[in-house]
């Protein structure tokens, strides 16, 4: 039992970090970023190249993943989403654009890094063993880094001036503008930040599960699941959704093992029932 909880917490921390990035972009721009999983994959491959192939320290690789994705996110906002939002009032336009960028990134990653599953050497070896829990040290480290990042992000949003401006923008765009917030600049910062989070998780997890060019789509779908569970656009909801999905996956893989690979089948079925009762998720309000 303790083992299942430990696995769930470790998974949940990663998932929460992915969901945070997605929900930030949604709250600020009302854009569902279908390319979130592809950003994760790109981050994974950056860390793979720098840590796995160039043999530079893992920390540097991780920073490079974050910076690369921040730049990609900023460029996508400035040249793609901003122009579409300016010209079109319909939400489908940005959804279509987001789907297109997902396919585009998929193709770019495939061209640059090929279709093979890639892994990197362990960042630290050894396994923590106690009576009831067995957890490799690298998973513990990755989990702790993820939780520290979540905390840092929350503190940044709550207490820094740019964080406050982004919250204001999410709650009332026009009022924020009247306070002197430059909407375009902060939309770009928010998009870059959300993409950066995806890239960092990709970099973190390449050290454990590896990465391949095909997992972007599934990761995006998981990220949507978490955001739907918690309530779109709410920070607390994204974190709750991440940990809930992590826990469900961990429990499912243990309990349902005897029945074959049906964990996600059960999770989707449960989500459909849940959403028909609470369509706005656990905390359906714009930002908290």
């Amino acid at each position: 039992m303790e083992q299942v909880i430990a696995n769930g917490l470790y998974l949940g921390a990663q998932y929460a970090l992915i969901a945070l990035g997605l929900t930030l972009i949604f709250a600020l721009m009302n854009v569902l970023n279908f390319a979130h999983g592809q950003m994760y994959v790109l981050g994974g491959f950056v860390t793979y190249s720098i840590y796995g192939q160039l043999k530079l320290p893992f920390v540097i690789a991780l920073i490079c993943s974050g910076v690369t994705l921040a730049i990609v996110g900023a460029l996508m906002e400035k040249f793609l989403f901003r122009t579409v939002i300016r010209r079109s009032k319909r939400e489908e336009s940005t959804m279509l654009l987001a789907a297109a960028t997902a396919f585009f990134l998929d193709a770019v990653v495939l061209l640059l890094f090929g279709e093979k599953q890639r892994g990197v050497p362990k960042i630290i070896s050894g396994v923590f063993v106690s009576d009831r829990v067995i957890l490799p040290y690298d998973r513990i480290l990755v989990g702790v880094v993820a939780i520290v990042m979540i905390a840092t992000f929350m503190l940044f949003m709550q207490y820094s001036k740019p964080g406050r401006a982004m919250r204001a923008l999410a709650q009332d765009r026009i009022a924020a503008q009247l306070m002197g917030v430059k909407v375009e600049r902060y939309s770009m910062i928010g998009f870059a930040l959300g993409a950066m989070l995806a890239g960092i998780v990709g970099g973190l997890l390449v050290s454990i599960t590896g990465v391949n060019s095909g997992i972007g789509g599934p990761i995006s779908i998981k990220a949507f699941l978490m955001v739907m569970i918690g309530g779109a656009g709410v920070v607390g909801g994204a974190i709750a959704g991440g940990f809930i999905l992590g826990m469900m996956e961990s429990v499912g893989l243990t309990v349902l093992r005897a029945y074959g690979d049906i964990t996600y089948l059960v999770i989707f079925a449960l989500l459909m029932i849940f959403l028909s009762i609470r369509p706005h998720g656990l905390m359906g309000k714009p930002w908290g």
């Binding site: 709650q171 009022a175 503008q177 002197g180």
Partner: protein
């Protein structure tokens, strides 16, 4: 003397329907000027034109003598014009404190910002009681005090108020009217006040413009307009 704010023959359209047609108004330094008129007469459109939320099609808007039409809303705040928008628009999931800090978004000196917070809390003691409460959970009157305080946090030279009495309990309307007079007097801020409650607007202002379907129908000294037969008939509902 050059007026603080000057509209010269301004036209503003929503799609193909005009909201303002040939409007010329002035606000001088230190004045409180009221814009009165029925719903849809164009009062709020004047404020939206000043803040840059709406583009004008014809005419000029000058502030301190230089043209400001076509300037983005976030630049207008930096020039010293603060807007209290219609329907209040607090940031509902932020505390009173964070709402006030958003008002000071264009400023950087932390000590001076804290002084401004103290000034706002002295002026609206209720906000002090609610300092850590989420703004969306407060009453309409309290939210109105918050948005006026929030606008003052930018240390404006010109304060634009859009329907501050709307949705506020009658008892609190008096309080808000008094604070508008006090702010104009103490903070040396000029005020442009848009109100459907014409009686209140004429009492707190020195001059007023009455608008009908996008044009200035009458203008003059507020006290005289309050006594004017035509104004009484058209804007004050007949009797006093």
């Amino acid at each position: 003397m050059e007026p603080l704010l000057k509209f010269d023959d301004v036209e503003l359209y929503y799609d193909h329907v005009y909201a303002l047609k040939g409007v010329s108004i002035e606000v001088h330094e230190g004045e409180t000027v009221a814009l009165i008129g029925a719903n849809g007469a164009g009062k709020s459109s004047i404020l939206r034109a000043i803040t840059g939320l709406r583009k004008i099609r014809k005419g000029e808007i000058r502030y301190h003598g230089s043209r400001i039409d076509g300037t983005a809303p976030d630049e207008i705040v930096r020039m010293g014009i603060s807007m209290v928008p219609e329907a209040r628009r607090v940031f509902p999931f932020m505390t009173v404190r964070d709402n006030l800090l958003m008002g000071a978004f264009t400023r950087t000196n932390k000590i001076e910002i804290q002084q401004s917070i103290d000034m706002v809390l002295t002026r609206f003691p209720r906000l002090k009681e609610r300092f850590s409460q989420q703004a969306g959970t407060m009453s309409g009157g309290e939210q109105q005090m918050l948005v006026i305080g929030r606008a003052l946090m930018a240390r404006p030279r010109l304060l634009l108020l859009d329907e501050p009495s709307l949705g506020v309990a009658p008892k609190l309307v008096q309080d808000i009217a008094r604070s508008i007079v006090a702010i104009n007097r103490d903070e040396k801020v000029s005020v442009l006040l848009v109100e459907q409650n014409s009686r209140m607007a004429l009492r707190v202002s020195q001059r007023a413009y009455a608008l009908t379907t996008g044009k200035v129908a009458l203008s003059g000294n507020s006290a005289e307009m309050l006594a004017d037969e035509r104004v009484r008939h058209l804007y004050l509902g007949g009797e006093i």
